[in-house]
Structures are given as structure tokens and as C-alpha cells.
């Protein structure tokens, strides 16, 4: 008998006051997997999270957690019965309770078991010894970890996080992301988190579901999402993208940058996706000439704005060993095979 996947959303829709927010979304999350719901604000990702948690009910469709239908046309299981842990953007630690009492809040059983479990999770999040403190005595990062500990303590079937890092200092985010991923993997809990920050999604998640306009545009591991976006919108949202018009002729496509090899055969009018780091630059005007419009220097690499002879502008990213002057004419060469989208 196979273990049922922790979460299946099937054709869920939701509207508020007649305004549709989710259109027929479907998603499946695997055991012990970290899945990101990535999208701009208003795309419906937080709504999806709240449907999973049970704070709202879908207008149609079903939600199944660990093989049990928790939301459907005939069923609505209350949040408290779903065994779903939740960490909010602002952590929402109970201000009137100590760290230990916060973490133990959802635990049942005798005091000794509770104490042991609290000690376990505190160790897991790296904050042993803080049990007696009150939430206001902790830093932002510490509060986040306690909120995580509180949600993990009752060993939920599913853990939900709403924009978990948006309240932290940008400088700390990277390090804390790594730590949180380690904690989640060590706990082995299936996790779904919501973010608008693609860097966060790509670095933290095993799989990313890109949501645009209330629909799931693509679900894929980060590398696939970046290298093979399903639609132009996904390509534009995840990472930086240049789009060039082209005429596909089977194995190649004709563009302002010359004839480029295609990843898959195509015919007709297409839009070519060019990632900035896929553009190779050279001094001298071959194979395609471009003028440098602007330059951002980051030390370890640089971003350049380029204008081609036909007026198209592109953004290129390269290492910073070569300095390019504004107005300088350089050559642009596309690395590897390109992906295209049909142009409608």
C-alpha cells in the first residue's frame, strides 16, 4: 500500500464578494518535500495557503491531506482537526506566554512528555535554553524560529509558512534561509510556503509552483523552472529575461542576434527567451553588434544594458573582468540552444 501524498489540491476555486481569486487550481505535494507557492501579490497564493489550513473554504474543488478529504462540496474539516501547522508572517507568538508555553501550546499529554518535546524542538531550531524567556525579549530571527518550533512541536502532517522571511533584515535572510531549510529537512515535515521573492523560492524549495492571476502556471523543481519555464509569463517572473521576436524555421530561429539553434523544433512567429547570463559579450562587433547603454558593476559580476542595431534593448550579465564603456560597440553571442514561446 502506498503512502498517500501529504497534500492534494484538486480543481479548487475561490472568489471573494464575486471577485474570483483562484481559478481551478490543482497541486500535489510529495512527502517530506518543501514546496514554494511563488507569485506576485494578488496572485492567490496566500488564499491557497488559507484554504489548505482551513481558515477559508474553497467554492469548488477538493483538498485532501494525508489521504483524507478535508474540503469539498460536502465536507469541511475545521482547522483544528486538520493537523496542519502554520507560521505567519508576523510570527504571532502569544505575548502573554513564555517561549516554553508557546511551544507547548498545541501539545497534548502529560507534563513530562510535553517538556521533553519542547526541549527537542528547541534543540532542533538551535535555541535551547531560551524556554523561560518571553517573546518580546527575543530578536526577530529568534522569534521566527520559536514560531517554527511551535508549529513543529505537535508533529503536524503539513507545515505552512506565509512569507516566512519578509520580516527579517535582508542581510540575515540568506543565512537564516539555509538554517531554516536544514531545520525543516531534519524534522522531515512536508512544507508549503508562500513567497513573492523568487530568490527565496528557488533557494529554499524542492519544488516551486508559480502562481499568476489565480492559476498555477507551472510546478517544477527550481532548476527546471528557471531553465525551462512553461510560459512567457513564468519566464518573465522567475529570474530576469530578455524577449526577442523571431521567426522559427524548424531547428533554428532567426532573430536580430542571428540564427540561433532551438532546443525543440518550432515553426512560425515566436518569442525567444534569452537569459542575461546566456549572452556572451566580446570586444568587436561580431557576431551581432550592440551598443552599451548602461552598466551596473557589482564587483563579482556586472549587468549591462545593450541596444542592438534594430533598436531592441537587452540586459546582459557577465563576469566583471572586462570593463565596457558607455556607448562602446561590442559583440553579442548567444550561448547554447534557446527556448521559444509561440507568439500569438
Amino acid at each position: 500500500m502506498t503512502i498517500p501524498p501529504p497534500l492534494i489540491i484538486s480543481h479548487a476555486s475561490k472568489a471573494y464578494n464575486g471577485v474570483p481569486v483562484l481559478h481551478d487550481i490543482s497541486l500535489s505535494v510529495g512527502a517530506e518535500q518543501i514546496t514554494a507557492l511563488l507569485g506576485p501579490s494578488g496572485c492567490g497564493k496566500t488564499t491557497t495557503l488559507r484554504l489548505i489550513a482551513g481558515f477559508e473554504a474553497p467554492d469548488s474543488g477538493t483538498i485532501t491531506i494525508q489521504g483524507r478529504v478535508v474540503a469539498s462540496a460536502s465536507v469541511r474539516v475545521a482547522t483544528e482537526d486538520r493537523r496542519v501547522g502554520m507560521v505567519f508572517q508576523e510570527y504571532a507568538l502569544f505575548p502573554h506566554l513564555s517561549v516554553t508555553d508557546n511551544i507547548a501550546f498545541g501539545l497534548k499529554g502529560n507534563a513530562r512528555d510535553k517538556q521533553a518535546r519542547v526541549a527537542d524542538v528547541l534543540r532542533l531550531v538551535g535555541l535551547s535554553g531560551t524556554g523561560a524567556r518571553m517573546p518580546y525579549e527575543l530578536s526577530g530571527g529568534q522569534q521566527q524560529r520559536i514560531a517554527l518550533a511551535r508549529a513543529l512541536a505537535p508533529k503536524p502532517d503539513l507545515l505552512l509558512l506565509d512569507e516566512p522571511f519578509s520580516n527579517l533584515d535582508a542581510t540575515l535572510r540568506g543565512q537564516i534561509r539555509t538554517e531554516v531549510r536544514a531545520i525543516l529537512k531534519a524534522a522531515g515535515t512536508t512544507c508549503v510556503f508562500v513567497t513573492h521573492d523568487q530568490e527565496e523560492a528557488l533557494s529554499l524549495a524542492d519544488e516551486v509552483a508559480v502562481m499568476l492571476g489565480g492559476r498555477v502556471a507551472q510546478v517544477a523543481p527550481p532548476q527546471t523552472l528557471y531553465r525551462r519555464p512553461a510560459t512567457r509569463e513564468v519566464a518573465a517572473f522567475v529570474g530576469e529575461a530578455n524577449f526577442l521576436n523571431g521567426e522559427a524555421q524548424g531547428a533554428t530561429v532567426v532573430t536580430a542576434l542571428g540564427r540561433l539553434p532551438l532546443r525543440e523544433p518550432h515553426h512560425g512567429a515566436v518569442t525567444v527567451l534569452l537569459r542575461p547570463e546566456g549572452l556572451r559579450l566580446s570586444t568587436g562587433a561580431a557576431p551581432a553588434a550592440a551598443t552599451v547603454l548602461w552598466r551596473e558593476y557589482y564587483g563579482h559580476n556586472q549587468r549591462l544594458g545593450l541596444r542592438l542595431t534594430d533598436g531592441t534593448t537587452l540586459v546582459a550579465r557577465s563576469d566583471a573582468y572586462q570593463d565596457y564603456g558607455l556607448g562602446e560597440e561590442i559583440g553579442v553571442h548567444v550561448q547554447g540552444r534557446v527556448q521559444v514561446f509561440a507568439r500569438v
Binding site: T47, E80, M86, K108
Partner: protein, 542 residues
């Protein structure tokens, strides 16, 4: 007296959905219980309407009599003047004690708020004794040749006394608003070049509007429903005239019609208040505790500010205390041990009412704080009608109702408590729902995600976090019951002497020496509950 804000966030996404919409689907238990409570406290209003309508044509005649219109005019003028007076005193006072480096701020705050503690009838008696004919002030000025002071009776006396008693109702919410404001807004304004005065006018004051509106409404409602002060100052506003009608003639129609007009006016005020107050989120989102603005340095204004506060305390505290002490001293030797029973009675009935009201207020407060539906909020608004009605009307209505329909309960403690509950339930609903609104809905959602049932979420998260506000509301009810005169006068079981009835009868019999002990006692106990309120306020900030 506090009137609640309407329910908090109107966005359904942000509110826990355990209160179902009032849309004709079968109502939730919470709605049913709330409806029952509302029905209970609506009894007096029901009787009133019955009586007034039952008067038929005679009633309509009374409505348009010149006498009625005069009374209406008198009441409105008094209420309007008091509101202005209370705001003119209250806002600066609140600002001085909340935002500046005024020395001995706590002392001035407590002193300035103490007038709230003096029941209006006692205060009126005191000011008549101090500033009236053959009073203390005249006695002091007599050697200087002043033989007659301008009469304290009539409009000026009523205005003076009631303003002194109601300005704290402006101070409290304005102070709370000042202390809870986001400092970053004023700091941004100052960084944009506005001087302190303009910051106050353009940033602070607009944010104070709901609090100020709330305070002004309370002052207006207090004025309209006050009985003791206007009766003693002989000012013909509604309550005095209604009382005279009831006691002197058996024509209940006139009293009923006048009461109905009064109710309409007060409901009109409430509608105005709803429009003036804007809905905003009360709960604090974010990490850590809120920053507090550094106090404004008064500099050369320090002396005038101190003089202002000192004047308030002089008139509001020192004068009453001196008069009371004088009465007390004159009355020493009287059998003051006789006061033990009235004290016990008063404290126990106030305590019981506070507890009862505290519990009764929970369902409507929950409904008001957490429901988005207009139906629910309308339901809760009905509960406020008991506060809108003057105590006099409530008491008389219950007298009639009990005498006719519940003869066995007539003139018993439960009816008295019901009368108080009808009057003061809104205080508790308002404070409780305000406290509940301040609890971030996220906490409830977290609780539910950790497996707690709704009632457990209530008990372990929401109520502890709103405890300060809820207890503050109950303390306010306790305080109000202790002071309450007309309800007590008419509904107390025979032989059940309370401090207010003691005082009233002593004054009626012009035995001023009997006034000292009971008044002092009443005021002392009231002051204690005020301290409770202040401490709760402080705790809820930390």
C-alpha cells in the same frame, strides 16, 4: 461610559470565520444567546414605546406642546455646552499628561480624573454648598463685602457641575489614543518641516478624531441622562421634568412621551457618532513592542500648564474634599456605625452586577468584534439602548413591568440588578469588544492550527490577552452602579439601604451633617475602582 467602535477589520480574509453570516441560514448559538440578552435589556424600551403609543392622540398633543419643546431645547443646549466645555478642558489635559514632560504627571492625572469618581448628585450638593447662597465661598467673601453671589441654580450651575464630571470621559479615550499612536507618523511630519503646533493640528488631531468623538458622545449622553445634577440645580431638562411628572401626577403618558423624545435624541447622537468615527484596525501588527514618543518639553509653558492642572484639581478635588470633610466633621457623633449595612449592600450589589454584566457582555462583544455582517452588528447595537435610556426611565419601566407582570419579583434584588444591567451592559460590551478587537486575529488562527477548538482558543488566547480591557469594563460597571441614583431610588427593595439612597434622603431632609460619611465612603470606593482602571490601562500597554 464608553461607546464601542464597530467591528474591526472589514476584510473577510483577515477574520476568523467562526461566526457565520446572519443571512437566514440557521443562526449560530452565539447569535441566539446575544439575541436573548438583547431582548432582556430591551424590555424597558419596549414598555416605553407601549406607553407612549398607548397615549394615542393625547400623546401627540403633548409632543408638540410648547413645554415639551422648551425642555428639548434646554436639554440640547446643556448637552452641547457640556460637550464643548469637556473637550476644551479634556483634550489639553490629556495631551499634557500623556505627551509632555509636565512634572508630577501621574499626580495631575489621578487628580484630574477624580471628578469622574464623584457622582453628579453629590457633586451638585457640594457645589451648592460651596458656591451657592449661604455657601462656603460666600462665607469667605462676606468680610470683603460681598453679600450675594450670582445664583448657582439653573443653566450655569448645571453646566458647571456636569462639565466637571464629564471631562474625564474625554480625557480617557484621547489619552489612550495619544499613547497608542504610531510615533513614526509625527516624526515623519516633523522631518518634513512642520513645527510642533502644525504637527498636532495636521497629524495628531485627525487621528484623535474617533477617540474625541467617543468622549464627546459620552459627555453628551451623560448630560442627557443625568438626573441628580439637573434636579438639584433646578434646570428643566428632560430628566428633571420627567421625574416631576411621575412623582407629582399619575399622568404616565406625559412622562412616557418625554422619555421617548429623549430616546430619539440620544439615538440620533449615536448615529452621528458612527459617521464621525472611522473604522480602523486596532491590533498591532509586527515584531516587538511599540516605540514610545519622547515627551514634549514644555519649557516656558510649564507654569501655565501647571496652573491649569492645579485649577482643575482645586475645583474638582480640593473643593469637594473640603466640603465633605466639613460635613463629616459636623456630623461626627452621629451614629456612623449605621452606615455599615448600606456600605455592604452597595458594594455587594455593585460587585454582583459587575460580574453578571461581565458575563452577559461576552456574547454580544464577541459578535461585534468578530463578525463582518451588518445584521450581527445591528443586533448588538440594540444592546446599547439600555445605556441610551436615562436611569430614571429604565427604573420606572421596570417598576411598571415588575409590578404588573412579576409581582413576586417586584422590588427585589434581581430586578434591581436587571435595572443596573440594562443601564450598564453597554459599558462592558464596549470595553470587552474593544479589547477583543485589539487581539490580533492571527493568534486565533495559530491556536486553531495547533489543534485547539474555538472555545479553547477563546479561553486560552483571546480572553487572557483581552483580560485587561474586560476587567477595565467590569470595573467601570462597578463604579457606575455604585454612583447610580435614580435606578437605585426606585428599584431598591424596601429596607435595602444603599449609600446613594442615604445621601439623597439626607439632602432632602436638609440634614447636611449626615452627608459626610456616606459621601466620603462612596467616593473612596469609587476612587479605588478608578485606580484599577488605570492600572489595567497601563498593563495593556506593556
Amino acid at each position: 461610559m464608553q461607546i464601542a467602535r464597530s467591528a474591526s477589520d472589514s476584510s473577510p480574509r483577515l477574520m476568523p470565520n467562526f461566526v457565520r453570516h446572519f443571512s437566514g441560514r440557521h443562526p449560530s448559538p452565539l447569535q441566539v444567546i446575544t439575541a436573548l440578552i438583547v431582548a432582556l435589556v430591551s424590555l424597558p424600551l419596549g414598555y416605553l414605546v407601549l406607553r407612549a403609543v398607548g397615549a394615542g392622540q393625547a400623546g401627540i398633543d403633548i409632543l408638540f406642546e410648547a413645554r415639551t419643546l422648551t425642555v428639548l431645547f434646554n436639554s440640547l443646549v446643556l448637552a452641547g455646552s457640556v460637550v464643548i466645555g469637556a473637550s476644551v478642558i479634556g483634550v489639553p489635559f490629556a495631551w499634557l499628561t500623556a505627551r509632555t514632560d509636565l512634572p508630577f504627571r501621574r499626580f495631575w492625572l489621578v487628580g484630574g480624573l477624580l471628578t469622574m469618581v464623584i457622582p453628579s448628585y453629590i457633586g451638585a450638593m457640594i457645589y451648592i454648598a460651596a458656591f451657592g447662597p449661604r455657601g462656603g465661598l460666600q462665607g469667605m467673601l462676606e468680610p470683603l463685602g460681598v453679600t450675594q453671589l450670582p445664583s448657582i441654580y439653573g443653566f450655569w450651575g448645571a453646566f458647571f457641575a456636569i462639565t466637571l464630571f464629564t471631562y474625564p470621559y474625554v480625557v480617557l479615550p484621547v489619552r489612550a489614543a495619544l499613547m497608542n499612536m504610531d510615533p513614526a507618523q509625527e516624526e515623519s511630519a516633523r522631518s518634513l518641516g512642520l513645527n510642533r503646533w502644525r504637527v498636532f493640528m495636521r497629524v495628531t488631531l485627525p487621528q484623535l478624531r474617533p477617540a474625541l468623538a467617543s468622549g464627546m458622545l459620552l459627555a453628551a449622553l451623560y448630560t442627557l441622562s443625568d438626573f441628580g445634577a439637573v434636579a438639584l440645580m433646578r434646570y428643566d431638562s428632560f430628566t428633571r421634568v420627567i421625574y416631576l411628572q411621575y412623582t407629582s401626577s399619575f399622568d404616565r403618558n406625559r412622562a412616557a412621551v418625554l422619555s421617548l423624545v429623549l430616546v430619539v435624541v440620544t439615538v440620533g447622537l449615536l448615529v452621528l457618532e458612527r459617521r464621525a468615527a472611522s473604522k480602523k484596525r486596532n491590533y498591532r501588527v509586527g515584531v516587538g513592542s511599540q516605540r514610545i514618543l519622547p515627551p514634549v518639553a514644555l519649557g516656558k509653558w510649564r507654569l501655565p500648564a501647571l496652573a491649569f492642572c492645579a485649577a482643575l484639581v482645586l475645583i474638582g478635588v480640593v473643593t469637594p474634599v473640603s466640603v465633605l470633610v466639613m460635613w463629616f466633621v459636623n456630623g461626627m457623633g452621629d451614629k456612623s456605625a449605621e452606615l455599615l449595612q448600606p456600605v455592604v449592600n452597595t458594594v455587594s450589589v455593585s460587585g454582583m452586577t459587575a460580574l453578571v454584566v461581565g458575563m452577559l457582555a461576552l456574547p454580544p462583544a464577541l459578535l461585534a468584534a468578530r463578525s463582518a455582517s451588518r445584521g450581527n452588528r445591528l443586533l448588538v447595537q440594540f444592546a446599547y439602548l439600555g445605556n441610551v435610556l436615562p436611569g430614571l426611565v429604565v427604573a420606572l419601566a421596570l417598576v411598571f413591568f415588575a409590578a404588573n407582570y412579576l409581582p413576586s419579583l417586584y422590588q427585589t434584588l434581581p430586578v434591581l440588578i436587571l435595572g443596573y444591567a440594562t443601564r450598564f451592559l453597554p459599558l462592558s460590551i464596549s470595553a470587552t469588544s474593544s479589547a477583543l478587537t485589539q487581539v490580533n486575529p492571527r493568534f486565533e488562527e495559530v491556536g486553531r492550527s495547533l489543534g485547539l477548538r474555538s472555545w479553547q482558543v477563546m479561553a486560552r488566547i483571546v480572553v487572557p490577552l483581552s483580560r485587561a480591557g474586560i476587567l477595565g469594563g467590569m470595573a467601570l460597571v462597578f463604579l457606575s452602579v455604585m454612583k447610580e441614583l435614580p435606578t437605585t431610588l426606585l428599584l431598591s427593595p424596601t429596607g435595602f439601604d444603599t449609600l446613594p439612597t442615604e445621601i439623597w434622603s439626607a439632602h432632602a431632609q436638609v440634614q447636611l451633617s449626615r452627608l459626610g460619611s456616606p459621601s466620603l465612603l462612596l467616593i473612596a470606593v469609587s476612587a479605588l475602582s478608578l485606580l484599577v482602571i488605570l492600572r489595567q490601562e497601563q498593563k495593556s500597554r506593556g
